[in-house]
């Protein structure tokens, strides 16, 4: 059973360099209780994908070029704003990278939590309050009833991210989209937040899409992983498979370039070159100018996403060779 099914998604942005595809031909599924990791560097299109699912992309400058996003039997891309509003909150919740700026500074935590309940459910002030306290307790905030009257600036970054999570989950969504939820946090706090997300998934059973640039976070959290580069999916696999037998040269390069606590290497392996600019994407495979396995055909053929092994797909012309290594 799938909860969310994205197909052939293409998101275009109008810029001074003309219209560019920030997300190109992206598709994936999410099952209930599953955690899908989306990794990529800047410009990979991972956040744009998330905002497209939520219907939160600013239009203009963006527009959906093609594709579908099916959630509970309806295509979200076909829904009007009013219907989409009923999806946000009770259907899909979202948390963001910057807990410092994602909460409104002039309203109390309680007010921001309760208004979400008020808008989506017909319940009295007392129930709203109880629900808010319950959610704060659930995300591990001590003395939740007292925190309701606090303003965001009175809380630390980690606490604010907990409040954001409480707010995203207060209407029991089926899916939580977490866009770089720990990037702005310190490493000890990051671990607490990741643990909290895992616990909540176990308790509430929602599906999670976690978007990050950090391979470690994906390895700790995800069941399946999508690797994105310059707007396209380059590899997709279950998490153990991806980390143990990566196929795509970009995935391999990324894994090799991370200095880990365990390794004793003298030199790091690197991916040469720089990330392509979205308005000047290379022809053929977008990674080919930086790729050590490049052959002539790479510059003319766009490699399709195809199976390598059971449940493992990659988009590279030489993936059979690479997989056999």
């Amino acid at each position: 059973m799938t909860l969310l099914s994205v197909r052939d998604l293409r998101v275009l942005f109008g810029t001074e360099h003309g219209e560019i595809a920030a997300v190109d031909d992206v598709g994936f599924d999410l099952a209930p209780g599953e955690i899908l990791g989306v990794v990529g560097e800047s410009g990979s299109g991972k956040s744009v994908t998330a905002l497209a699912i939520m219907g939160l992309l600013p239009k203009p400058p963006s527009r959906i070029g093609q594709g579908s996003i099916h959630f509970q039997g309806q295509d979200l891309l076909q829904l009007g704003e009013r219907d989409m509003r009923r999806i946000r909150g009770p259907g899909i919740g979202m948390i963001f990278q910057e807990p410092m700026t994602s909460l409104n500074p002039v309203f109390t935590i309680g007010d921001q939590l309760m208004e979400t309940v008020r808008v989506h459910q017909h319940s009295g002030p007392k129930e709203q309050r109880e629900r808010a306290v319950e959610m704060l307790a659930r995300v591990g905030i001590a003395l939740p009833a007292r925190r309701l009257d606090d303003y965001p600036h009175q809380l630390s970054g980690g606490m604010r991210q907990r409040v954001m999570i409480a707010m995203a989950l207060i209407c029991n969504p089926k899916i939580l989209i977490a866009d770089e939820p720990t990037t702005a946090l310190d490493v000890t706090i990051q671990q607490q937040i990741l643990e909290l997300l895992l616990d909540l998934r176990d308790e509430l059973g929602m599906g999670i899409v976690i978007i990050t640039h950090n391979m470690g976070v994906v390895a700790e959290m995800a069941d399946r992983v999508i690797v994105m580069y310059a707007g396209k999916i380059v590899e997709r696999a279950p998490v153990n498979e991806l980390f143990e037998r990566p196929v795509h040269p970009y995935t391999r390069g990324l894994l090799d370039s991370i200095p880990s606590l365990a390794d004793e290497r003298e030199r790091l392996k690197t991916i040469p070159g720089t990330l392509p600019r979205p308005w000047a994407l290379p022809a053929g495979c977008r990674f080919q100018p930086r790729c050590r396995w490049r052959v002539e055909a790479c510059a003319s053929t766009v490699p399709p996403l195809g199976p390598v092994r059971e449940g493992h797909e990659s988009a590279c012309l030489r993936q059979q060779e690479l997989a056999a290594e």
Binding site: M54, S102, T116, V119
Partner: protein, 316 residues
């Protein structure tokens, strides 16, 4: 909150001291012999001596300064020989006139400025935005005295709808007050409307880009809450500070507008004082108005703290 008020007042003290000092110095900056200028070329030495004595200019500067501050403490801004009245009394007599006019203009400003600014921001790059911004641009570009004159030519001279000038107190005749103050209030308000509309629009656009607005949308809040609550509450914070500037502008504007429409307010009092070289009146009036503005700015500070919990808590 009490501490915010105290701190605003404490912060204003050095400014007030300097303002009084500058006003005092202004009189002493008059180039050449004031008495000669005032008495005319034909005045005798005795006449000039008398003028200097009346202005208190015959004493050493430090004595003058002490007397100046002594007078200030007793709310005594000196005496206008030209009007034959205390400066304080003369100002207070005129104050209700200017006050009612400025308030009228401020109401127009707040309603038109904020509404058109918000509409322009919400409909960015549409004809609504362009029309509102065109209107605002005309507002900030139009000299208000000229606008006043043009309105007189059109509505009073040609159409005869409204009086060309004069003032009717509200307490005497509310309709008459409205008839006598509407044109002046509009000519006074137009610049401020333009300014406020432009600032409201840019503030609103800025706020709409903020992460917490995206959060509000991601929660599935309807538009009226996203904009009317989350965005507006934050946009009001900078807008409040602009209102301080606008009140200051309206004081300047009133001087001119009252002259154009022959309204007997503080502005006209000052203008005639200038033309008549009534120095105590100029000095006193300028100081009075400025101190009033300092008071308004304290009120703005307090309102700011009231709107922004970060200020209220961290500093209060």
């Amino acid at each position: 909150m009490g501490r915010v008020i105290l701190r605003s007042i404490a912060g204003a003290i050095p400014v007030v001291l300097l303002v009084t000092l500058i006003t005092f110095g202004l009189m002493r900056l008059i180039p050449g012999d004031v008495s000669a200028a005032l008495g005319g070329i034909t005045s005798t030495t005795e006449e000039r001596e008398q003028i200097r004595k009346n202005l208190g200019l015959d004493e050493p500067v430090h004595v003058q300064l002490l007397k100046w501050y002594g007078g200030l403490l007793r709310a005594d801004l000196g005496r206008s020989h030209f009007l034959g009245k205390d400066v304080t009394t003369a100002t207070f007599e005129r104050l209700p006139v200017s006050f009612s006019l400025s308030l009228y203009a401020l109401v127009i400003t707040l309603i038109l400025g904020i509404v058109s600014g918000i509409l322009a921001a919400l409909r960015q790059n549409t004809w609504v935005d362009q029309a509102a911004m065109m209107f605002a641009l005309i507002g900030v570009s139009m000299p208000n005295f000229w606008l006043g004159l043009m309105m007189i030519v059109l509505f009073s001279v040609h159409l005869g709808w409204l009086p060309t000038g004069g003032y009717v107190p509200f307490t005497q005749d509310p309709i008459g007050w409205l008839r006598s103050t509407t044109m002046p209030a509009i000519s006074l308000a137009l610049l401020q409307v333009g300014l406020l509309a432009r600032i409201t629009r840019s503030t609103m656009l800025e706020v709409l880009r903020q992460d917490y607005v995206r959060t509000a949308r991601a929660k599935g809040l309807p538009n009226y809450l996203v904009i009317g609550k989350h965005a507006l509450a934050n946009a009001m914070i900078p807008i409040i500070t602009v209102i301080g500037i606008i009140v200051s502008l309206s004081v300047s504007g009133a001087v001119v507008t009252e002259t154009v429409f022959s309204i007997p307010g503080v502005g006209q009092l000052l203008t005639s004082a200038i033309l008549n070289r009534d120095y105590p009146m100029i000095q006193g009036g300028l100081l009075f108005v400025t101190l009033m503005l300092v008071g308004i700015n304290i009120a703005v500070d307090v309102a700011y703290a009231w709107l922004d919990p970060r200020v209220r808590f961290e500093r209060g």
